[in-house]
């Protein structure tokens, strides 16, 4: 082990020397005992340095700039098109207050656009947009579709269901991003997850005292417990406290806060052994704190600040996970693979 460490150190020193212009042979003379091991790696490094002398061919710089300029011109020429909508939506996400205030309700516009796209035969684009990730051209279409799904839901319970599904999609994306070491993408997805779960909690408030309350409560608790288990597993895999780890921590806190509230409402029952779906909570049972309470405000504030920190950038596409039925509400998309 110590010998390997010494060899790695010698390699590191030689690479620095090569970067300063020293020859491979001169480096090897300093470490004769490691010559056989070091030589192939130093030659490979040197070959890479030599290969770096390749430059663009004549006219290539101008040719590529023409294509970049043409794309920028095209983007700037667009007026009442998706380009303008995209810029508005981006402004909304980044909360850039240096920009002029918006004159329109963009979520209503987004819902209308999504509906129009569907009605006018844009089904293929809508289908393709379902797999788009932040930074990809169709991601704004996907956001518009998701916003429309929420807005067009017939009831608050249906909206809650959609919010949970969207949250689980974000969680699934975070898991996939972690699997491919895309921590930035995972962080972005986790912030979006937190946002959706906060909205779901707000909607759950509206169902207080309704016949659906017990069923909704059981479903949310079950989901939240699954989310916490998944988040813990992902968190265990993080060795460093980077941006994704912070996002993960916020998501765990968010999920745990939601669970605590539902447990309090449910008489401190253990998660996973909740009463049946038909067993409604008695009148006056403490439940989720009202939307305006300090606790709820704190939860919303955390999610909102997480969303504000969210930065959307180009990222590679990820495949979608399969659906898993869930009791209580209609079958939902699964997010939490063991």
């Amino acid at each position: 082990m110590k010998a390997k460490a010494n060899l790695d150190l010698a390699l590191e020193q030689c690479l620095l020397a090569l970067a300063r212009g020293e020859s491979v042979e001169a480096c090897l003379k300093r470490f004769p005992q490691w010559r056989a091991q070091l030589e192939p790696e130093l030659r490979a490094a040197q070959a890479m340095r030599e290969a770096g002398h390749i430059g663009p061919e004549p006219g290539q710089v101008e040719r590529i700039w023409s294509s970049v300029s043409a794309r920028i011109d095209e983007e700037q020429r667009s007026t009442v098109t998706s380009g303008r909508l995209v810029r508005y939506l981006r402004r909304d996400r980044s909360e850039d207050w240096s920009q002029p205030p918006r004159r329109f309700d963009m979520s209503a516009i987004a819902a209308t656009v999504a509906l129009l796209i569907t009605l006018l035969g844009g089904g293929g684009m809508v289908y393709a947009a379902q797999d788009a990730l932040p930074g990809q051209p169709l991601y704004q279409v996907r956001e518009a579709i998701e916003a429309a799904r929420v807005r067009l839901s017939a009831s608050e319970q249906a909206q809650l269901q959609v919010r949970l599904e969207l949250a689980e999609e974000r969680l699934s994306e975070a898991e996939q991003a972690m699997n491919r070491e895309g921590r930035q993408d995972a962080s972005t997805a986790l912030q979006a997850y937190t946002e959706q779960m906060t909205r779901a909690g707000e909607l759950a408030q509206g169902l207080k005292g309704t016949p659906q309350e017990a069923r909704v409560r059981e479903t949310i608790l079950e989901r939240v417990n699954e989310h916490i288990a998944l988040l813990q597993r992902l968190q265990d895999r993080l060795h460093e406290r980077d941006e994704a780890a912070e996002g993960m921590q916020r998501a765990v806190e968010q999920a745990e806060a939601l669970r605590e509230r539902w447990q309090a409402r449910n008489g401190q029952e253990e998660p996973g052994v909740q009463s049946g779906p038909e067993e409604a909570a008695p009148e006056g049972t403490p439940g989720l704190t009202p939307p305006g309470s300090p606790e709820q405000q704190g939860m919303i504030s955390r999610a909102a600040s997480a969303a504000r920190r969210s930065r959307f950038r180009h990222s590679p596409p990820a495949s979608r996970s399969n659906l898993r039925p869930s009791p209580g509400l209609r079958p939902a998309r699964p997010c939490c693979r063991a």
């Binding site: 490979a44 070959a47 890479m48 290969a51 970049v68 950038r313 590679p316």
Partner: protein, 188 residues
């Protein structure tokens, strides 16, 4: 601080000024950033994709995406250069995931680069050996090696470009260099 480090720092300050101007929509400032970074970005892409035409198309896309993403760019220690390489790397990953009909190295890249009269033939032979060896490595190892040794980025810049810690990048570099030496040895 030696001359090289001073030049590097001055260059980074200029980048920051140009980026700040470009963020306001100044196309001329963005054009200057483009002129500074097209050659290294194009070289990076040339080592990473199968054909030189694809590298050229991707280079255009990378700078267009950079223009689009400029409003969200925040000045950071590693600077504009690492940021634009990050976009380039993501574009390469996307290229391999979304396209199915890429020409192989043997069909296009080697022939095209050898036919390029603007560069030294010996350099092309070396580049060809490196390219062939690199193509047998995992994507992440290819990126780290090209950024470190072809482009001469610091460990911090490489870490920013690939989204990992410096320590992790050093480990990847050691493993990758061993793998490349082995691959190039087998190819001879």
């Amino acid at each position: 601080m030696d001359d090289g480090e001073m030049r590097e720092e001055l260059s980074q300050v200029q980048d920051n000024l140009l980026t700040a101007r470009a963020q306001t929509g100044d196309r001329e400032a963005f054009g200057e950033l483009y002129r500074r970074y097209l050659p290294p970005v194009l070289r990076f892409l040339t080592f990473r994709v199968a054909s030189r035409n694809d590298a050229e198309d991707l280079a255009g896309l990378v700078f267009y995406r950079a223009w689009q993403a400029l409003p969200r760019y925040r000045e950071q220690e590693a600077g504009f250069r690492a940021w634009v390489y990050r976009i380039a790397r993501n574009s390469v990953i996307d290229y391999y995931r979304t396209s199915r009909n890429h020409a192989s190295l043997d069909e296009s890249w080697a022939g095209a680069i050898m036919a390029d009269s603007a560069n030294d033939p010996d350099t092309h032979i070396v580049a060809e050996e490196v390219r062939a060896g690199l193509s047998r490595l995992p994507e992440e190892q290819q990126t780290v090696l090209v950024l470190r040794f072809v482009e001469g980025l610091s460990h911090a810049e490489v870490a920013e470009a690939v989204g990992k810690s410096e320590g992790a990048c050093r480990m990847i570099q050691l493993r990758a260099l061993k793998a490349l030496a082995r691959a190039m040895g087998e190819g001879r």
